[in-house]
Symmetry: C2
Subunit: 299 residues, 2 copies
């Protein structure tokens, strides 16, 4: 039995499905305290069988490097009770013969969109999500980018839109991309939640300016063939087209897209990208083997 | 016999050496017309033996995807005679049993610094070069990033230094990173070639501002553990320290570097990174195999 779990900041999804990312049965429930959340997921699974593979997609940051002391643990997070909590220990205790694989929720979503979603069959793909924060997951040459710590796409800096003097809301950087273009930044800047701002409002030109500049950095650094823009804010009418137009303008003939549709597309899996990705991760042999070999003793 | 060739815009290096990147014998000569340049290199090699492996590190852009029509060819370049020229055909004809591997000069340099240079033993490494242009090579999880087209690190956009209104010199983008911080941009902005500008001159604070912002985008997108800053401009006294300081300031506690020395270091291989990288590329099995299997018929 193949299982996946998507641990989000507010909700968790536990599922059984296929290693190809298809959900057979799933259950969504609120993320509460870590013990309670994982117990619920484990009991739900145990009533359905014994998993041989479990893919865990977790809200970041998470220790992803096997062999390091923080492997499998939730790192610094404001979410009460979660910092330092091991996501792998409880699963390993409940299902000692299951192979566990772990990645961030945004990497799981990127993998799912790249394998069975809006970028199916492409090896070089970026997925960004614009919501409470701004995050990104990248595949290059068919492999997920993990990096030395972990990417934090939201915290790069982009040029100011001419005339824009809004200071930005990131507590660390003020006017990084997340500080200027996340959902809460839009709300704070215009005094209205993003989902209440009509299309045609100047908020969306501003939003497209900043996102297009962030995406230009993606093109310059990892050269994806497609950039999937998801998350709550991305559901605004026409936003993908606005970003595409601005991106084409600032790229000025550089980075010609392979597809006529351009780089920027909406997700195909919507809400399901994370849980589909968790199932896909469960089948990633190389990562599973690394876990099993290097960390068996620590579980 | 293992051979490597580094084709630069002005000079070419041909060498025999080891698959571990050690040069045994090398010859440097000016890059002229493509036929002449490759003939010289092939004759130099043929006098020394028959290579079993040849690693080619070429000034970009180059078609790197086996199976595409432009594979092995120099793409759009202002250098007379080179656009569309196949770098692999002549080597394949001269040494039909040799396994050929090809990458960009900047990727070769990144690989060399990551394996035997300033980032030896690290899996997540970025190498940027600041000279006539600005380019970058990236390893993530020990693998070179190629992307769908090819990365063009120099052409991302960064915020303006407050008060700086210099328009920039990139013919495509004006004020992309390359347009504001390459050697010719420094020369044009200050009226003095960069190697004649003394340390302490405000040119270097400006340079550090722009490079630090470019490097912040690298940290946010691929999370390298080290960023090697090379190229002619990087030899200015104290520039690495200025960049480090600015980077620490703008990262504001994000992206804590693993090493006490911080992210930004000078190259260890200097002028030799490209040719050492060409030798290392020759030993990259997976890439060689892809070439041999997929492109045998085209050579």
């Amino acid at each position: 039995m193949i299982a996946g779990i998507e641990l989000g900041g507010t909700k968790t999804v536990i599922a059984i499905g296929t290693a190809e990312g298809r959900v057979i049965k799933e259950c969504r429930f609120p993320t509460t305290h870590p013990e309670e959340t994982l117990d619920f997921a484990i009991n739900w699974l145990a009533r359905r069988g014994v998993p041989t593979h479990i893919g865990i997609a977790a809200f970041g940051p998470v220790g992803l490097v096997p062999g390091r002391a923080n492997f499998g643990k939730v790192l610094a997070t404001p979410k009460p009770g979660w910092a330092g909590f091991s996501l792998t220990n409880k699963f390993a205790a409940a299902f000692p013969n299951a192979r566990l694989a772990l990645d961030t929720d945004v990497n799981a979503a990127a993998l799912a969109e790249a394998q069975i979603g809006a970028a199916a069959g492409l090896d070089d793909v970026a997925y960004i999500t614009i919501g409470t924060g701004i995050g990104g997951g990248i595949l290059t040459g068919g492999r997920l980018v993990h990096g030395a710590i972990h990417p934090e796409f939201g915290h790069l800096k982009v040029p100011r839109m001419p005339g824009d003097e809004y200071p930005g809301i990131c507590p660390f950087h003020r006017d990084c991309l997340e500080g200027l273009a996340s959902g809460p930044a839009i709300h704070a800047r215009w005094g209205t939640p993003s989902h209440e701002i009509p299309s045609g409002h100047p908020a969306w030109e501003t939003e497209a300016w900043y996102l297009a500049h962030g995406i230009l950095s993606l093109l310059a650094i990892v050269s994806p063939s497609r950039v999937i823009v998801g998350g709550g804010v991305s559901q605004a009418d026409g936003l993908h087209q606005l970003i595409s137009r601005k991106l084409e303008e600032i790229a000025a003939g550089y980075f010609p897209p392979a597809a006529e549709a351009g780089y920027v597309v909406p997700p195909a899996l919507g809400q399901d990208a994370g849980i589909c990705g968790a199932l896909l991760i469960s089948g990633m042999q190389s990562f599973c083997e690394r876990l099993t070999n290097e960390n068996a003793g620590e579980w």
